[in-house]
Amino acid sequence: MECRENSMDLTRNLKNETVSRLYPTQPWLLQATQPVADAVKLMREKRVGCVLVCEQRLIVGIFTERDLLRRVLSKGKSLDTPMQECMTPDPVTVHPKDSISSAIKHMQKGGYRHLPVVIDEKPVGILSVKRIVHYLVEHFPTMVYNLPPHPQPTQPKREGA
């Protein structure tokens, strides 16, 4: 009985709780005309894996580490290339009021690591796959957080003489 309730809990939470409950991280924005070098600088400075590309205040694309490797470096393009030529245009986005399970579905369907969170095309956050894994882990803390740092608890040899 207990067992059923707990696992039902998580399933229900995934459906009912919204993306805003995960406190998506602040998005870092660039204009579509800025060069890739600016994106690289921003991603390094802020220690993030992706930046959002905007025209005025509206989102037009996303630029990630993967785009950097695939669309810029391996194609032999220079870092002066404007963002609009190497970003992923029209990324799949979520609304803060969307359910967490729908965000997970979007992520898995497209194989995305990051989803922009937008309201009326205006970016308000980034939701990462790590954040979602963290959210799931919070549902069974004792299984994960109460662990020793290494799986084998005993020492292979006796200490001392």
Partner: protein
Amino acid sequence: MICPSCCQKNLPGDDVCRHCKQPLTSFDRPQPENQVERSLMYDQVKTLKQKPPVTMSHSATIGDAMALMVAANVGALLIVDEVGRLVGIFSERDLLKKIVGDVADYVNLPITQFMTPRPESVATTDTLNFVLQKMDAGGYRHVPVLENGKPVGIISARDMLRFLTRLCKEAGERGASAL
């Protein structure tokens, strides 16, 4: 910790009961409360379907690594020595953080200069909660799976997410059908 057989009160963390010497360590371990927790606690890494790892020799160059990452469509390469033991990991993140914009003509530089050496890894016989712990607490996106020091798989955050959501869904369905 109260001994289950003789009711002697022991200090928390005692290995054996002070009165009857019965071992107590197993009672300190968390008890799984549902299907998902049980799976995390007892299922071993090898039960998780993993992609074969994409490996590269430690004598390769950054250019080789970039070409392989694009060709194999992966975000991280495992770097191995002559006998196939894991010595490092090289990911898109290393490329962004250590190379692009900083280093000119990086294509012919050795990979060992920029890889992350001795990454955290798990064994095939470790349980899944250890993978989650490393991923969540360490903030790693990829955790290599080793057997005798040699990589046999790699688990990404997305693999783990897929596994967890499937587990939750199954548990939910089982719960719903039992009602």
